[in-house]
């Protein structure tokens, strides 16, 4: 067990594998839920009836639940299981503190439950993968700190001087996720489960996608690379291909990844220089990302025969292959002209699921097939069933991806088609392009079902394996000598020395990720270009603000963007390209990331109030073949006028130019505005007291969209 040095004191210790088991089981439980909700959401796109006219069950509220469950519940628990298992062994030390481990575990599960309750209730910040409201944000911060203390405490007590490459990736994960989460979640509470972010419009978009992109980087990439570096060589029992490749690709990945966020915002109102940085850093990310794949796949050299027989390796090889594909596709999609085709379409959905189903999913499955027999000191119940899982999962994944690539490309080509003779859009009705891809939505859902079936086969296999475990598992006792106090290693290479200096290493990681963050974000945050002064744009009226919060609550942004890109096909379809002032009062911004329906940036005034009234009541009464769910409850529920004063007060404190009079008078003014809109509709509406209903506030907001730049231009 120990490595040489007979003169030193040898200590005995045991690993905490109980916590690993807990996190592994939680991974399985939440994985099943995440996949199931994904399938429901997929089916809702194929058939709008499956929204069931129920507020908490509509696509706009379930889709964030799916993404959060997949990333933070399934992915999160898998990461914690793998990190806790491998770190103890790589450090020859038990986890720092058993109580912290338990708080970490139960705290994280409670956060997930809170998410699963609040998101369907429409309590959301609408910032993707950061939807959870402020009390949960605080809980996440606390639990993450608990995790960090437990992890770094373990490193502090390690009996192995040098930290293995897996540990480097874990360090990068813990530090960066903390920075991302805290910066992106700075918000001012309005009520117990509502808040406004301190950033508005362009600034909010930039901060959010710096976060969103790096959630992919530091929650779905670096920790999983760390897991790969531990579990793959363990499973194949071969040395890692190249130590120096590990060093080069680790530091380049950590330094470059953080800059790439603006590739989510190409051709938007974000300044060109930031778009350019986002694009070029994404391109430079190609090789560092592939470094991990190469190191993984080449570690298997000479052992490919084992891949044929060992399910653990099968899953890991496919995971690495998908990692390689997704990290090639990422830079490709970041090229501006490619983004113009792919952005807002199902191509992005395909790209994301190649990464999550293929890389994160399959790596996790491989890890669990390795872990469970080890943890329960037995053999896997059935290798055949694991192979069945592998093939069903692979086929399901391929169906999913082929359907989404075809769908994304088809719809994009239709939306972009401009008649070369007349210069008109060939498919001016958005819904025409939707009808075309519905069959592919069914194929996608079937692919998802297959993936889930494979997963359930695994759960059964794991369950049977656990039953094979010997009744009384005594914890194994390990022996190793204490780490020497002296950290001076004069004759070693500098990086080797650094691997022995945990605090220095961590600080260097922090510096690496802060450089890109500061250079890219700070200029926009301090720039006066995006502040209200001199724009001539008046803030939202109290009623419009109330309606805006309903738009956020219903998750409209999941299907509708509010960003007309500087592309001819967008301008011909939706009107003048969006400017920064169009979203300057938008807390949170609503640019969206996917157009399942048309863009709404300039929808205001395009249709009469009655059109919107009928559309929300029954979308198909005004748009044949629409797949949008009906929003009946907006016609029953009453607008909360009382809270408007507080809302305006918070906005005022954030620099929105409301007068004290506006704030005091908010509820009254909103009622008066609602009465006017309702009066225009009374002839066509059977509802008594229509002015009080939420639909009126929503209509007020929708009719405002796109009016900002008209006003700012009027002033110029």
């Amino acid at each position: 067990m120990s490595n040489s040095a007979p003169s030193k004191t040898v200590e005995t210790f045991m690993y905490d594998d109980d916590i690993v088991k807990k996190f592994t089981i939680a991974t399985l439980v939440w994985g099943g839920i995440a996949f199931l909700v994904g399938i429901i959401a997929a089916l809702q796109l194929a058939s709008w009836q499956l929204n069931f006219g129920t507020s908490w069950f509509t696509f706009g509220r379930l889709r964030p639940l799916h993404t959060n469950a997949a990333i933070f519940a399934f992915g999160g628990n898998a990461i914690f299981a793998g990190i806790y298992y491998s770190t103890q062994r790589l450090c020859k030390a038990r986890l720092f503190n058993d109580t912290l481990s338990k708080i970490h575990f139960w705290g994280w599960q409670l956060i997930i439950v809170a998410a699963a309750v609040t998101l369907p209730l429409g309590l959301t910040q609408s910032k993707e993968y950061a939807e959870l409201e402020w009390p949960i944000d605080i809980a996440i911060t606390v639990i993450w700190v608990v995790f960090a203390v437990n992890f770094f405490g373990t490193l502090y007590r390690r009996r192995e001087r040098h930290m293995y490459v897996a540990i480097w990736f874990y360090i990068a994960t813990i530090i960066t996720v903390a920075v991302l989460h805290i910066v992106n979640s700075i918000e001012i509470p309005v009520a117990w489960f509502q808040s406004y972010p301190v950033y508005a419009g362009v600034q909010d978009a930039l901060v959010q996608w710096w976060y969103g992109h790096n959630a992919v980087a530091f929650f779905l990439t670096t920790p999983f690379l760390g897991l790969m570096y531990y579990f793959l060589p363990k499973a194949v029992n071969r040395p890692v291909y190249s130590y120096r490749l590990s060093i080069v690709h680790f530091w380049s990945l950590v330094f470059i990844y953080i800059w790439a966020g603006p590739h989510h915002l190409l051709y938007t109102a974000l300044p060109d220089w930031a778009q350019t940085l986002g694009m070029v850093f994404s391109i430079m990310l190609w090789a560092p990302s592939w470094g991990g794949m190469i190191n993984g796949l080449l570690t298997l050299r000479g052992s490919w025969d084992k891949v044929r027989t060992d399910p653990v390796l099968k899953f890991m090889v496919v995971a690495l292959t998908f990692y390689g594909m997704a990290t090639f596709e990422g830079p490709l999609l970041s090229i501006k002209s490619v983004s113009a085709v792919g952005h807002y379409t199902d191509w992005i959905i395909a790209h994301v699921h190649g990464g999550t189903l293929g890389w994160n999913g399959f790596l996790t499955f491989g890890m669990i097939y390795y872990l469970i027999p080890k943890l329960y000191r037995t053999e896997l119940h059935s290798v055949r069933l694991a192979n069945v899982h592998f093939w069903i999962g692979t086929v399901g994944m391929l169906m999913y991806l082929l359907a989404m690539y075809t769908s994304g490309f088809t719809q994009s080509m239709m939306l972009r088609a401009i008649d070369p003779i007349s210069g008109k859009l060939v498919y001016p009705d958005f819904v025409e392009t939707v009808v075309r891809i519905i069959p592919l939505y069914w194929v996608r859902a079937i692919g998802g079902v297959l993936y889930l079936i494979g997963f359930l086969v695994m759960c059964w296999n794991i369950f049977k394996t656990c039953r094979l475990a010997p009744k009384h598992l005594e914890a194994e006792v390990y022996r190793a000598s204490k780490m020497t106090e002296e950290s001076n290693e004069p004759k070693t290479a500098w990086h080797r020395r650094l691997e022995g200096l945990m605090p220095t290493f961590s600080v260097l990681v922090l510096v690496s990720i802060l450089i890109g963050s500061v250079i890219e974000i700070l200029p926009t945050l301090v720039a006066h270009t995006y502040t209200p002064a001199n724009s001539g744009v008046v803030p939202y009226t109290a009623l419009e603000l109330a309606g805006r919060d309903l738009y956020v609550r219903e998750g409209c942004y999941n299907c509708h963007s509010q960003m007309i890109r500087t592309l001819p096909e967008d301008v011909l379809r939706y009107g003048k390209a969006s400017l920064p002032e169009d979203s300057m009062y938008d807390r949170p911004f609503q640019w969206g990331s996917k157009r399942t329906g048309p863009d709404l940036a300039r929808i205001g005034g395009k249709y009469p109030d009655l059109w919107h009234y009928r559309h929300m009541l029954d979308p198909r009464s005004v748009v044949q073949n629409s797949i949008m769910p009906a929003y009946d409850w907006l016609f029953d529920k009453k607008t909360n006028f009382a809270i408007l004063e507080r809302k305006l007060e918070v906005m005022q404190s954030l620099g929105v130019p409301y007068t004290d009079e506006d704030v005091r008078n908010a509820a009254h003014a909103a009622r008066a505005e609602a009465e006017i809109i309702a009066a225009g509709l009374t002839g066509d509406s059977p509802i008594k007291g229509l002015a009080d209903r939420e639909i009126i506030a929503l209509i007020a907001y929708i009719q405002r969209l796109g009016k900002n730049s008209e006003k700012s231009e009027g002033k110029k």
Binding site: P239, S242, K606, Y607, W611
Partner: protein, 196 residues
Amino acid sequence: MITNNVESKNKKVQLLDHEYDGIRELDNMLPRWWVWLFYATIVFSIWYAAYYMAGYGLTTQEELSVSLERIESLKPPPLASGEDSVSAIVAALGNNKNIHEGREVYEGKCVACHGKSGEGGIGPNLTDDYWISGQGRIQDLVEVIANGVAEKGMPPWADVLSREEFRDVVVFVRSLHASSPANSKAPQGEKYEFKD
């Protein structure tokens, strides 16, 4: 192919002396193609960023203006303005083929607001003698459909419909006059007789 299979070619590849929980590491050189790929992306990125940030390349706004100018130059003159187009429409009035084609356009674009038979709904009744915008001339019908009536929520269709579709939908709407469908919406606007 992707390996520069060092272990077999070159005996010098070192198995490093450290070991973590049984995991050993080789010290293979970085794959040559990978290093070149990395350099290439860096060189490209520096060139690209310098080119655009120094102002040699078009900004995204300028790029858009160029595209829009090209598209603008393609467009035939707007239907509403040309006298010839109004006379072309007048010539087609009452023609069954045009009415049939026009009905298809109408069912795709107009039904939602004006009803299946022009009886009105969100928008006004198209079958009566009352006009909110215009005074009963074909020219008025052309203008309302082409340019829309922004304050009433009628969208402009000139850029959406082809010249033929436009002609046919006007012919179809004209053919609805005095058809008195069920559920007709009450008259809105001023009364004018149709003047073809």
